[in-house]
């Protein structure tokens, strides 16, 4: 096997990177307090914790993009200058932040070499050599792409691979990955794991941040848990079970996902979708959701689920098919019509689609409902105040007062505001797209409770989620989409993770071979 870094495997147990009592606060909020840990060469070290626990801050201190207030980082006993990205890179610390480190308009070669360009002469690029090296790097990663194509034209997984190639092209001793599998398919995740293990064998240490317990158990040697900016503990992965790990993160007993009795449909068909098609995205989608029912929509990334929800909500317009709310056809492509019909969509990207971050909590909560709170066209402050109070109370939004900017809240609270905004409009059909993404374990449980109680009071819910345990726990029925089409339906009783995956993966292919990704939607579209 070709060596990825050109180095021989190293096997020592002496840590090469030591973090001593790192502390950092932002505008009065203590993000890290006296965090100390060490990393050994060639270990995969998982970093876990709820959102707001300090993981991102720790990475930023390590990679040099942020300067800690106190404490030190030592690499091979040499003190690392704080807040110095170049120094961190020189020391071999490379952080991969997915989308945020890519240049979408440039090709793979530029993306790999920017900042570290190979030169033929001072001020002149050595293009042939860069092209050769880029090609070799991508080949070793098992990817073959058009090196000149702008990154924005490549698939998510390919972009990620380019990012990894970039990280590899630097001599890294420590590779920091932050939720790297969030947008990857199963096959791509396996490829990533293979590469990581190989890097490990060559002595590269990996700091792996993830919320996914299965991945951590599959990959990591040791795990460190942060909570509220403090180090709770660092243990070999074999020494902690899932329950202990979760307890460390949350600090209290977390009730197991209640396998409560599902209510199931209690009423009429609220939402019916017939033969819905949008070329290139999805085709022939037909299903219905009844009042009181939670219908889960599972599938791989890129299967088209978000697009279906966006179409039902009116952000996009279907080319064919119809949407009926309580038997009445809905005007397609009109968000206002959908809202009037009682539909609400809580989008998956709450920072860019769900919330307006610079606005206050109050303004965000009012955004969708203010038009109905008016009195002869004018805003009614009294009605608005009542609505905001109600939303904050019922959702348990932790904020000093409704006037603070929503971007100061934690991920879980932000998601509650995003939900609350829509619940204030008293919808009858709720479309949830990844409602607990980036939400810490505690808030997750609250959200689940809320979803269930809403269903009990008659809400028809479509739950899109890539978190299989979540879908299994909440749904009354599970629909699976594959490459833009519905591939299967499972009742609550019969559903298992394996069965869902079986429907989600392309027919007849092994999980280890090529699987459905965004690029194959094009193949699917030809059949439309």
């Amino acid at each position: 096997m070709l060596s990825l870094t050109g180095r021989k495997p190293v096997d020592t147990r002496e840590p090469f990177l030591e973090i001593h009592e790192l502390s950092k606060s932002y505008a009065g909020v203590q993000a890290l307090t006296d965090v100390s840990l060490n990393i050994r060469p060639g270990e995969i070290h998982a970093l876990m914790g709820e959102n707001g626990a300090g993981k991102s801050t720790l990475i930023k201190c390590l990679s040099g993009s942020v300067r800690a207030d106190s404490g030190a980082v030592e690499v091979n006993s040499a003190l690392l200058p704080a807040g110095d990205i170049a120094a961190a890179e020189a020391a071999g610390i490379v952080a991969l932040h997915q989308e945020s480190t890519a240049f979408p308009h440039l090709g793979a070669i530029d993306n790999i070499f920017i900042g570290r360009e190979l030169r033929r002469a001072p001020g002149l690029l050595d293009r042939p050599r860069m092209r050769r090296e880029a090609h070799l790097l991508m080949e070793r990663l098992g990817e073959s792409i058009d090196l000149d194509r702008p990154l924005e034209d490549l698939s998510l997984a390919q972009r990620q691979m380019v990012g990894i190639a970039r990280a590899l092209s630097r001599r890294s001793r420590l590779l920091i990955l932050d939720e790297p599998t969030a947008s990857l398919s199963a096959r791509e995740t396996q490829t990533l794991f293979r590469i990581l293990r190989q890097l490990q064998a060559e002595g590269v240490a990996i700091l792996y941040i993830s919320h996914r317990l299965e991945e951590v158990y599959a990959l990591a040697d040791r795990v460190t848990v942060l909570r509220d900016g403090r180090l709770i503990g660092t243990h070999p992965i074999g020494d902690v079970d899932r329950g202990t790990l979760v307890r460390m993160m949350v600090g209290r007993e977390l009730l197991e996902q209640e396998q409560s009795e599902s209510i199931g449909a209690t009423g009429d068909v609220m939402l019916e979708v017939r033969g819905l098609s949008r070329p290139g995205e999805f085709a022939d989608i037909t299903f219905s959701v009844c009042a009181g029912e939670i219908v889960g929509l599972a599938g791989l990334i890129g299967a088209g689920r978000t697009e279906v929800a966006a179409t039902i909500f009116g952000i996009e317009c279907a080319r064919q098919g119809s949407i009926l709310v309580r038997g009445v056809p809905l005007i397609p492509g009109s968000v206002r019509a959908s809202i009037a019909g009682g539909i609400a969509l809580v989008p998956e990207d709450r920072q860019h689609e769900g919330l307006v971050l610079p606005l206050s909590v109050r303004d965000n909560l009012l955004l969708s409902v203010m038009n109905s709170l008016t009195h002869i066209g004018f805003r009614s402050r009294w009605k608005e105040r009542a609505s905001v109070e109600k939303s904050m109370r019922e959702l348990g939004v932790k904020a000093a007062n409704p006037g603070i900017a929503v971007n100061t809240l934690s991920g879980g609270n932000q998601q509650k505001v995003s939900l609350g905004k829509w619940l204030a409009t008293e919808p009858r059909i709720l479309l949830l797209d990844e409602p607990t993404r980036g939400v810490d374990v505690g808030a997750k449980a609250e959200v689940y409770r809320l979803i269930r109680s809403l269903a009990r009071s008659g809400m028809a819910t479509l739950l899109i989620s890539s978190d299989l345990p979540e879908i299994l726990a909440l749904s009354d029925r599970i629909l699976v989409m594959r490459e833009g089409r519905l591939s299967g339906e499972l009742s609550r009783a019969e559903a298992t993770e394996e069965k869902i995956l079986a429907f989600a993966l392309p027919a007849g292919l092994d999980a280890s071979l090529e699987t459905a990704t965004e690029t194959n939607i094009a193949a699917g579209s030809k059949a439309v």
Partner: protein, 333 residues
């Protein structure tokens, strides 16, 4: 909604403080600075030349600020949504030329005026369609229409000026009612309407939301396309009104009027504290910005009679005010 009443993890219940909604919002830091600058300028002016501050002088000098002030109102709203309209000056010219041609073709003034306003609204609507429906960057669209509209004005008028309008029409620009100049009254009415709509209806918050994050605004159900279309159309309409006021005041309509007007309007709006990136801004600030530019310009002309100094002072004022604002706020841009 029957979410269970769960105690938040951090013990105490959330206390929602009573909403301190004052009907008149407090001035922002930027506006306070503007007010100080304004007062400072007037004091200085009064010192050097007391006659400048007499109400008669002020009224006389105010004649040509109303068009700028009028255009600044929709521009504020557009900039609030992170947009811009560089075509207002050219739209003014187009409307003026249309008016002139109509009058000379024999149309009664009312009909010509209505036609002119219609053209203005239409020009604005075209901007709006490109920006709102085709989702093109407003800088580019209005840069194009800045050239196109003035070009059409030049084309249909062949560079000829029109003049000799009836007295009943010129009253619009030169007359006064109860001591207030008519253009001023027009401006105040438009300002009042705009202020009520922004402050009293959901439109105000909608504009801010669109300016900060248009995508989220759309996802929240706000009629973004419709709102933007409305804004650009009213900007065009305001340009038409400004054109009529100008023609009435100067008794001439030509294709070169309003040249550079858009820059003055944007200067006033930005000076007034509206962020060019959208989301933040107030009509009150814009009014102060217009006032300050006006007083500074008029005083410089009055005292030293050199137009060049005007330009330097206003340009420097703009740069210094934004510089000060940017250096004082520690946050990254």
């Amino acid at each position: 909604m029957t979410a269970p009443n769960r105690k938040p993890v951090n013990e105490t219940d959330i206390k929602i403080p009573p909403n301190r909604s004052s009907r008149v919002p407090l001035p922002t830091r930027n506006e306070i600075v503007l007010l100080l600058l304004l007062i400072g300028t007037l004091l200085l002016a009064g010192r050097l030349s007391p006659d400048f501050l007499s109400s008669r002088s002020q009224l006389e000098l105010s004649t040509h600020v109303w068009e700028l002030a009028l255009l600044a109102i929709p521009m504020t709203l557009i900039v609030l949504t992170a947009g811009i309209d560089l075509s207002v000056g050219s739209t003014m010219a187009l409307c003026a030329v249309v008016f002139g041609i109509s009058i000379h073709a024999g149309l009664p003034p009312i009909a010509a005026a209505l036609l002119s306003l219609l053209v203005g609204a239409g020009a604005g609507a075209l901007n709006g369609i490109f920006v709102a429906k085709l989702k093109v960057h407003p800088l580019i669209v209005t840069l194009a229409t800045l050239a196109a509209y003035r070009g059409i004005a030049e084309g249909i008028s062949l560079g000829r000026p029109f003049s000799g309008f009836s007295d009943s029409f010129t009253f619009l620009g030169q007359g006064s009612i109860l001591g207030l100049p008519v253009p001023g009254i027009v401006f105040l009415i438009v300002l009042a309407v705009a202020a009520i709509m922004i402050g009293g209806t959901p439109l105000g918050l909608s504009l801010s939301a669109i300016g900060f994050n248009e995508k989220a605004a759309r996802y929240s159900g706000l009629a973004v396309t419709r709102i933007k279309l409305l804004l650009y159309t009213s900007s065009g309409l305001a340009a038409g009104m400004a054109a009529l006021l100008f023609v009435a005041r100067r008794n001439t309509a030509k294709a070169d009027i309003g040249t550079g007007m858009e820059l003055d309007v944007i200067t006033a709006v930005v000076l007034g504290g509206t962020s060019i990136f959208g989301g933040r801004g107030r009509l009150f600030g814009t009014v102060l910005g217009v006032l300050l530019i006006h007083e500074v310009r008029e005083f410089v002309s009055w005292q030293w009679n050199r137009d060049e100094l005007n330009l330097i002072v206003v340009g420097a004022l703009l740069i210094l005010s934004v510089l000060a604002d940017s250096l004082l706020s520690p946050k990254k841009r």
